[in-house]
């Protein structure tokens, strides 16, 4: 793997950390999402010629960057207790950014996977990328499908949904780890 691709992988990894973490001082996010998407956008710009997936992912990163700007001013996540009172537009915004984010992540990994064919990524890592993205997609699909049920379901079901979103978080961490592992391969 070329040195430039290695640094791109590292930067993609760091870029994905920002939207993942939501530590707030008052209403201010210490890891603002838009910084993450900016890092991702710049990293993808380097490798955009290598695969069409990166080009699309770059566009999505740009859209996400713009969409995440309002989060500087207001809190973008919805608490379970506030779920029903949150206006539909807010739900649409949260779900749309989530969809675009997952889509962007998947495109990045599909692209890396394709490049992996031509380079010497160990099969173990390739398999990890493949199975992680698939699991990521499947879990997110379930989450998308059952998210509206939070309106009517018992609290126990809501807890299951929260657990699944924790699981998605875990997989995203694994994917970020894959990026850093890729960056170490010579």
């Amino acid at each position: 793997m070329s040195p430039s691709l290695r640094s791109v992988c590292r930067r993609l990894g760091w870029g994905l950390v920002f939207p993942l973490l939501d530590f707030r001082l008052g209403s201010f996010d210490i890891f603002p999402d838009f910084v993450g998407y900016l890092i991702i956008l710049l990293a993808l710009n380097h490798i955009r010629a290598m695969d069409s997936h990166f080009r699309y992912a770059g566009w999505l990163a740009l859209v996400l960057l713009l969409l995440s700007l309002p989060q500087l001013i207001f809190k973008s996540s919805i608490d379970v207790e506030q779920f029903a009172v949150a206006p539909l537009g807010m739900h649409a915004y949260v779900q749309a950014t989530a969809i675009l984010h997952v889509w962007c992540v998947i495109l990045i990994f599909r692209g890396l996977y394709r490049i992996g064919k031509a380079t010497t990524i160990p099969p173990g890592l390739a398999a990890a990328v493949d199975s992680s993205t698939k699991l990521y997609m499947a879990l997110f699909a379930i989450q998308l499908l059952f998210y509206p049920f939070m309106l009517n379901m018992e609290d126990s079901v809501v807890l299951v949904l929260q657990l699944s979103s924790l699981f998605i978080l875990f997989i995203e961490l694994l994917l970020i780890r894959v990026l850093f592992r890729l960056s170490l391969i010579v």
């Binding site: 029903a84 099969p123 499908l145 049920f149 009517n152």
Partner: protein
């Protein structure tokens, strides 16, 4: 076979086995890459639109159901209460309100008892879509300005909302009466169960003749309330009966409120109405409280909302 030879074969088999592993790895890698792209494009094309359609349907269905389970506005239960103006007394008004959306009750006034100040308590009985809230009004008819001591029946309350103008809403019937307790029956014990049964025991302070036992709101309650009176001589089947000083009377009662009708949304605070004569011929009207535990289940509330959210 000598030791040297054995060594040679083991090295050889190691070389062969590592080659095999490499070969297997490579086939595996190819299989992985091939597999990931092997799904026919045609099939793939439909997955996303169908999935998005299902997600949209999930949203539409859930939103529709959520709104179908909301009340148009807060609903007051029907209260059948007697309130005594001659002593410190209070009333409790219960109402159902949507848990999250829609207008909330912010204030209650009774036009005929303007000095009654209501305190609205936070919800204490939660359902999935609604909350039950209670407003307490404390009152003494002899406070300033003193009221004209006339019986009153209050059927409406003026309710103020978090949004929109105040409205007059039916709250049942609150009977205001002015009575002084000069009874000759002293309470010994009382008890009630969550199943709706209760007991009240009194003791006669002097010899009396019990002429009549009735209960308030008997016209409404005829089939929903049953009671029996037990004297020292056994169950009372006929009136009048004689009681000596020190005799006990037990009032056994049971509420029979059907759970699947609007009656379940009625709240009663009633009394046994006793009429007895003393040894010197004086007629006394006395009251004995009847306890009433009001409980609504999630299913009853959901049934009520689904059937239109209005009490007859």
């Amino acid at each position: 076979m000598g030791p040297a030879l054995r060594g040679k074969t083991s090295v050889g088999s190691y070389i062969i086995s590592s080659k095999v592993v490499n070969w297997v790895n490579e086939r595996g890698r190819e299989a992985l890459y091939i597999n990931s792209d092997s799904r026919p494009e045609k099939k793939k094309k439909y997955i996303l639109p169908i999935f998005l359609l299902i997600v949209t349907a999930s949203w539409a269905g859930n939103i529709w159901y959520y709104y179908s389970m909301q009340l148009d506005k807060p609903v007051f239960l029907k209260h059948y209460i007697t309130l005594n103006g001659n002593q410190d007394d209070w009333i409790e008004l219960s109402f159902l309100e949507n848990r999250r959306i829609g207008k909330k009750v912010t204030g209650i006034e009774l036009e005929k008892l303007p000095q009654l100040r209501f305190e609205i308590h936070p919800p204490n009985n939660d359902f999935k879509y609604q909350v039950m809230r209670k407003a307490y009004g404390f009152w003494n008819g002899e406070e300033n300005p003193p009221m004209e001591k006339e019986p009153l029946i209050i059927t409406e309350a003026t309710v103020y909302y978090s949004e929109g103008p105040p409205e007059k809403v039916p709250i049942g019937e609150i009977h205001v009466m002015w009575e002084r307790s000069e009874g000759l029956l002293e309470s010994i014990s009382s008890g009630g169960s969550s199943e709706g049964t209760g007991q009240y025991t009194v003791i006669a302070e002097e010899a009396i003749t019990l002429e009549q036992v009735d209960y308030s709101f008997s016209d409404r309650l005829n089939s929903k309330f049953e009671f029996s009176v037990v004297s020292p001589n056994g169950p009372v089947t006929e009136m009048p009966i004689q009681l000596d000083a020190g005799d006990t009377l037990i009032f056994d009662y049971a509420w029979k409120i059907p759970s699947d009708t609007a009656t379940a949304f009625e709240v009663y605070r009633t009394n046994f109405l006793l009429t007895y004569t003393t040894g010197d011929g004086e007629i006394i009207h006395d009251r004995i409280p009847i306890s009433f535990n009001h409980y609504l289940s999630e299913n009853q509330v959901n049934w009520f909302v689904r059937s239109g959210g209005e009490l007859p």
